[in-house]
């Protein structure tokens, strides 16, 4: 199951993602921690004039992970997204991406793919299993 590396303050219990060297409140080193890679959208925006090195439109969200640490993420779109939506988070090259695909949406997406029926079923099963695993605990 995918986890997001972070840190925890031994004094006040604050959680941070990604890991921070010192607690922002206690001037004390933080300890390593890890959080499940899903959570609730606190807010999101689409930036139409992103800085150099990014393409427009740039979608980003702030997601609260189980335990309370908040994580910055990119995403491929914000259609249907609301404050409070549950999203999965995947990491690619240490950049986090949120995704809102439900089981039904995954099924429809894979059904529309060309190819053998068995191949479509297999890829849906793989995706769905990954998702179930992510939300399982």
């Amino acid at each position: 199951m995918e986890q997001i590396p972070g840190s925890r303050c031994g004094r006040c219990g604050r959680l941070a993602a990604p890991p921070a060297r010192f607690c922002p409140d206690d001037a004390t080193p933080m300890e390593p921690a890890a959080f499940p890679a899903h959570g609730e959208v606190i807010s999101f925006t689409t930036l139409h004039s992103p800085p150099t090195g990014f393409t427009s439109p740039l979608h980003m969200a702030l997601v609260e992970l189980p335990g309370g640490a908040r994580c910055f993420c990119h995403g491929s779109g914000t259609r249907g997204l609301k404050v409070g939506t549950q999203v999965a988070i995947e990491s690619v090259d240490q950049i986090y991406y949120f995704s809102t695909l439900s089981l039904g949406e995954r099924a429809r997406l894979f059904w529309r793919r060309s190819g053998e029926r068995s191949a479509r079923l297999a890829s849906f099963a793989k995706s769905a299993t990954k998702r179930l695993g992510r939300f399982g605990r």
Binding site: R14, A16, A17, P18, P24, I42, S43, F44, T45, T46, L47, H48, S49, P50, P51, T52, G53, F54, L58, M60, L62, G68, A69, R70, C71, F72, C73, H74, T78, K82, V83, G84, I95
Partner: protein, 375 residues
């Protein structure tokens, strides 16, 4: 702690200016030396957020001092990102209150419009947490995130935040020192291009050039600085647990009201940091100028208009007067000085106590200043 007064205030017109940063700062500073009839202040405090990169100058206080003709006056520069002007006023206030100096000239300015907008955005964005910046976060992006969360939590609407722009442009149209000189309609705000959803262009302040200056003195003068309070918050947005208000504003207000010995009920005019229009509504509640959840209704009912019960941003605010970073905090104080001494022709309100509120970064280092007409 001794009483501290303002003996004079001046600013340049904000906007796209051809003059150098030094000429803009000299225009404001020399006007204050004249208005306060003090030729040789004991010290000089300079504010500029990033002159190293905007105009390529270092050792900035000495540079400004020499240019102004105060080369051998002790000088220092103060920087707290976009609230640097308020921080410079605080440094002067503290020095005079402590009896270190009897008179301090404070001058702030920024020159920005000569650079392309993406570069300006990048330079301002340096005030953001580096990790969040690595995701492409800019000030409008973080403001968009805060605004969306605040709207979801409070039920505030796009119309609410758009009415702030309409009001502040209307005020700026009466202020010859303002960047924008024309009113805007609600439709124009709704029709402006998206910047960082849900924020559109007309919800955001412009990029401006300009300077502002005040003279801080120990001797009795027309306006008294009743208090200056500062509040701080995490640089990283992801460390904050609430977006319904800014902790740094709330803490700054608490400190200022305690220092002044009075609360928001005595405030009769306010200049708030509306770099993004929802911030005006958020700040009204943070500062106790509106009951929780009531700021949008006060605005819609005209209570914060020029002829309202509590005029807010009579200058046009950052939204329409403009936002030359290092000048902004001081320009709020200049506007209040003019309002309290009857020199705000065309937009004059009746007030004895004014409040200035300045946000540094994405509300990581905020200031609240209380000014009172000296009876």
């Amino acid at each position: 702690m001794g009483a501290v007064y303002l003996a004079g205030a001046a600013m340049t017109r904000f906007g796209v200016r051809a003059e150098s940063l030094f000429d803009l700062m000299a225009e404001a500073a020399h006007a204050v030396l004249k208005a306060s009839a003090i030729e040789s202040p004991d010290a000089l405090v300079v504010s500029a957020m990033n002159p190293e990169e905007f105009v390529g100058e270092g050792n900035f206080a000495s540079h400004v001092g020499t240019y102004l003709g105060l080369a051998r006056t002790p000088s220092l520069r103060v920087e707290t990102a976009t609230s640097s002007g308020a921080a410079a006023l605080f440094a002067a206030y503290a020095a005079v209150a402590a009896g270190v100096y009897r008179s301090v000239l404070v001058v702030g300015g920024e020159k920005m419009t000569h650079l392309p907008t993406p570069r300006v955005s990048e330079l301002i964005g340096r005030s953001i947490d580096p990790y969040e910046r690595s995701y492409g976060a800019t000030m409008p992006a973080l403001a968009g995130l805060v605004t969306r969360a605040w709207m979801a939590r409070t039920g505030s609407t796009l119309k609410d935040i758009s009415l702030v722009a309409v009001k502040n442009h209307a005020n700026a149209a009466k202020n010859p020192w303002a960047h924008f000189q024309a009113p805007v309609t609600l439709d124009a705000v709704f029709g402006s291009r998206l910047v960082a959803e849900p924020l559109r262009l007309y919800h955001c302040c412009p990029i401006s050039d300009g300077a502002a200056a005040v003279m801080v003195v120990a001797e009795r003068a027309p306006v008294r600085i009743a208090a200056i309070g500062q509040g701080a918050d995490y640089l990283a947005l992801r460390y904050r647990d609430s977006f319904t208000g800014f902790h740094a504003s709330q803490a700054a207000a608490r400190a200022a009201y305690q220092m002044a010995g009075f609360g928001p009920e005595r405030v009769e005019v306010a200049e708030l940091h509306d770099a993004f229009t929802p911030f005006e509504l958020i700040s009204m509640e943070d500062l106790g100028l509106a009951p929780s959840g009531k700021a949008a209704r006060m605005l819609a009912h005209g209570e914060t208009a020029l002829d309202g019960r509590l005029p807010i941003n009579p200058s046009g605010g950052l939204k329409a007067r403009g936002h030359p970073l290092g000048a902004t905090g001081l320009s709020q104080v200049v506007e209040l000085y003019w309002q309290l001494t009857g020199q705000a022709a065309g937009r004059q309100v009746e007030a004895r106590v004014g409040l200035a509120h300045s946000i540094g970064g994405l509300a990581t280092t905020n200031w609240v200043t209380l000014l009172e007409r000296a009876a």
